[in-house]
């Protein structure tokens, strides 16, 4: 019998604080991945050329799309890592249950997504500065820094949500793999199998719908609601599944 009875909130708070300090390594891998992808982005996102006998025009476009994509992959991998036994056992340093543990993991991934989303989008300024001051590249911009900065805020918001989505997907994949090792093969096989079925049955509308559901949603508010709903469902599933895991 203890004099002080720990509440759910205090346990989650303690676990979150502990994880924020103990899992600092994940941010190192984020920095490495973002630096590599910034270097890759110097080659240009894409380019186009048009020409006639009198004139050839080549335009190279620069963006940090690759940094954002790499950050999304990082979120996926980081979330899987959190579900491994190695990390899971850390939670038993506290008086806890699986639900609290999952909530603190969720909060940690949310924090990581915010940091990753902000740094990924801010890397656009670093990329352009290096290209201009070191590479001597002159840019054509059809908007001022102020206009771009306003749009960057939207970019940061959606970047955070995309990373969070991939964290949630990674978390549920990791949890499934921890339930049974066979999921290591079943999940990728199912993913490619579904893609193959969609292609072979000619369900192109379904494929387009699935893609456009998130990636072509023009309203930021609806996009946010969609992502948060998916994340909530995915995390709930992961929490329910993790209750079936064996005790340490």
């Amino acid at each position: 019998m203890f004099l002080a009875k720990p509440t759910t909130v205090s346990v989650i708070k303690k676990q979150y604080k502990y994880k924020s300090k103990a899992y600092l390594d994940v941010y190192f891998s984020l920095v490495v991945l973002q630096v590599i992808s910034i270097l890759l982005s110097f080659a240009g996102a894409n380019s186009m050329g048009v020409g006639t006998p009198t004139m050839n025009i080549n335009i190279t476009y620069f963006s940090v799309d690759i940094v954002i994509v790499f950050t999304m992959i990082w979120g996926f991998i980081t979330a899987i890592q959190l579900t491994t036994k190695n990390y899971r056992n850390d939670d038993f340093s506290f008086v806890t249950n699986r639900v609290n543990s999952n909530i603190s993991n969720g909060l940690f991934l949310l924090t990581a997504s915010i940091i990753a989303g902000i740094t990924a989008m801010l890397s656009t300024f670093l990329q352009k500065s290096v290209l201009y001051y070191i590479g001597g590249t002159n840019f054509i911009a059809d908007m001022s820094l102020f206009d771009y900065a306003k749009q960057i805020i939207i970019g940061i918001g959606s970047g955070i949500l995309y990373v969070l989505l991939f964290c949630a997907l990674g978390y549920v994949v990791g949890t499934l793999v921890q339930l049974h090792k066979s999921f290591t093969f079943i999940i990728p096989a199912s993913f490619f199998g579904i893609l193959f079925i969609i292609e072979s049955l000619g369900l192109y509308d379904l494929r387009t719908y699935l893609f456009e559901f998130l990636f072509s949603e023009p309203s930021f508010v609806i996009f946010t609601l969609k992502i948060l709903s998916i994340v909530a469902v995915v995390f709930t599933c992961a929490t329910l599944m993790s209750n079936k895991l064996e005790v340490r």
Partner: protein, 237 residues
């Protein structure tokens, strides 16, 4: 581009390998090894954040190249690049057509040979209009077809044909190919998804990059083409 795709494929493959390795490795109950001490880790992270902030400050001082920016989307529906050039064949010149170099020569003979000062194929379009009078003046005007690529108007950078008269020959010098290389900022997909424009819609739209040489000659002057590949179109013929 294909090398970029190949590189991405290899990267994705390495990531999958890394992922599998981590899943197997991380599933052991052994305590995790710290790569760096916390202090070093903090230094690396703060240095990166500092670098990103320096990037913002430096970006603010980058001057944007000045190019004529055309709000192409507004007249997207009505814009037809070749219509104005088609009218020139009928001798009707639209006021909005941009004009390149102009040449005027005094010429008194009855015949004039047209030749090109270039061994390669001559790709220029020549339209000739006979004046109503014999004023003994030949007027050459380069008309530039509207050329817009990804919202940038390149019309004025189209090179004009140079011309000179030597004896009874009008020598046309087709210009060397102009090479334009441009770096343009592209909005990240996390931004462009919510701003209504589509990046691919504007690319290449309205590209023509050609000029037309319009020659006004005295009423009774006869033009003779000395090269087979120079095609001369006479107005209203």
């Amino acid at each position: 581009m294909s090398s970029m795709v190949a590189f991405l494929n290899i990267t994705i493959f390495i990531i999958i390998l890394f992922l599998s390795f981590h899943l197997i490795k991380g599933n052991t109950a052994k305590p995790r090894k710290k790569i760096f001490k916390v202090k070093i880790l903090h230094t690396i992270l703060f240095s990166y954040v500092f670098l990103l902030l320096v990037g913002i400050i430096l970006y603010a001082f980058i001057p944007s190249e000045k190019y004529e920016y055309m709000e192409f989307k507004e007249n997207h529906e009505s814009y037809q690049p070749n219509t104005s050039f088609d009218a020139i064949y009928e001798g009707m010149i639209d006021k909005n057509i941009k004009i390149g170099d102009k040449f005027t020569f005094n010429y008194t003979d009855d015949t004039l040979e047209v030749s090109a000062n270039k061994d390669e194929e001559f790709s220029l379009t020549i339209v000739v209009e006979k004046k109503d009078t014999n004023d003994e003046v030949i007027e050459l005007t380069n008309y530039l077809n509207t050329t817009i690529v990804d919202n940038i108007d390149f019309t004025e950078t189209i090179p004009s044909v140079d011309a000179k008269i030597s004896g009874n020959t009008l020598i046309l010098q087709e210009p060397d190919t102009v090479e334009i290389t441009i770096s343009k900022l592209k909005k990240e997909f996390t931004i462009s998804q919510f701003t209504s424009e589509s990046h691919m819609d504007n690319i290449g739209h309205g590209f023509n990059g050609e000029s037309l040489l319009y020659i006004k000659i005295p009423k009774d002057l006869e033009l003779i083409s000395s090269m087979n590949d120079i095609y001369i179109h006479y107005v209203n013929e």
